[in-house]
Symmetry: C2
Subunit: 200 residues, 2 copies
């Protein structure tokens, strides 16, 4: 880093470099863009971050970040309380919402079980999920966890834990993604898509 940029700019660059997808070089470019577009970008972004830090917190029911508590989804009475969709992070929740296909409620785990990273059930919101499942309103828990080792470990663990809670536990289907060319798909996906084949 350039000593000449001054401690304030150096600090900004090192913070920007911590964002996912950013490194020291791209953070420098971002800092430059911010300095160059002070009124269109630097000032609004500072205000937006401050507002987010002040107003946004995690919903006490589902843990999704929102300005309201309970969040807009948990407070939405038109949505189905009988369905709880379990996601790793809010990003997955947003993806589900973009699809428009789910009209139930959510539960954000805040991570996945991981032996490698030392994440146990206490570090993610498993207890809260069991509590919601046992509370009575929920009839089905849809596990929308990533198709990775940690995602599947977590799914198995949750299915086991939820066995006695009186809810049906389901998972998102595996198969060929829309637009997916068989040529480019991995063996695992093809095997699962073949096993789960349906009448055309």
């Amino acid at each position: 880093m350039a000593a000449s940029a001054g401690p304030e700019i150096e600090r900004l660059i090192s913070l920007l470099a911590k964002l996912p997808g950013m490194g020291p070089r791209s953070a420098r470019r971002a800092a430059l863009a911010l300095l160059k577009r002070r009124d269109q970008l630097l000032v609004p972004l500072a205000a937006s971050l401050a507002e987010t830090a002040e107003k946004v917190s995690n919903c006490s029911v589902c843990a999704a970040p929102d300005t309201r508590n309970p969040c807009a989804i948990c407070a939405d009475t038109s949505r189905d309380n009988a369905l709880i969709c379990v996601v790793e992070e809010a990003g997955a929740l947003w993806a589900m919402e973009r699809s428009g296909a789910f009209r139930g409620k959510y539960h954000v785990l805040g991570g996945l079980l991981s032996a490698l990273d030392g994440v146990g059930p206490e570090q993610i919101r498993v207890g809260e999920l069991i509590g919601r499942a046992k509370a009575g309103e929920a009839k089905e828990v849809v596990l929308a966890l990533p198709a990775t080792v940690d995602g599947q470990t977590t799914a198995h663990y949750l299915a086991e834990k939820l066995a006695g809670a009186g809810v049906e536990v389901t998972s998102l289907a595996r198969g060929v993604p829309v637009g997916g060319e068989l040529d480019w798909l991995d063996d695992g996906t093809i095997i699962q898509a073949l096993r789960a084949r349906r009448p055309a």
Copy 2:
């Protein structure tokens, strides 16, 4: 974008997406990372941006962003006033400073002449450069502009404009970069490196 993320988070995502190298998807990931690491990242970044917006301005001599005016480099009496290095943006200035090879002063143009983008000499700090060159202290103006069409157009224009200012005008050498394999170099670089060959 997900409607459910709330207007504050949506606004943050759309601002982050304007940073160079960021798109809508990576901006969402960045927003998530910020929300997840509130105390380590969100709050410090908001504060850093606010501090930068408040304290950092462009030096009235060379236009480099700094908390001081004149900037630390312009105010440094140990640096050679006889040398002025002309750069497009502060990023290039920082790169020059990291090299540690230049001990003169700088002049940040704030852009390059571009017929395509409609950038003329009035939009960049050409007049200020001529003024500094004519002021008497400067003996050499080093053009450290990018080896692009716009960079070279700007260099030619500046060389012409500075012809009557009583300063020597030089450019960074062209050639094979350190670590550069000839296999991967473009023809233009090889031609220029060959033309400028020196005794080994």
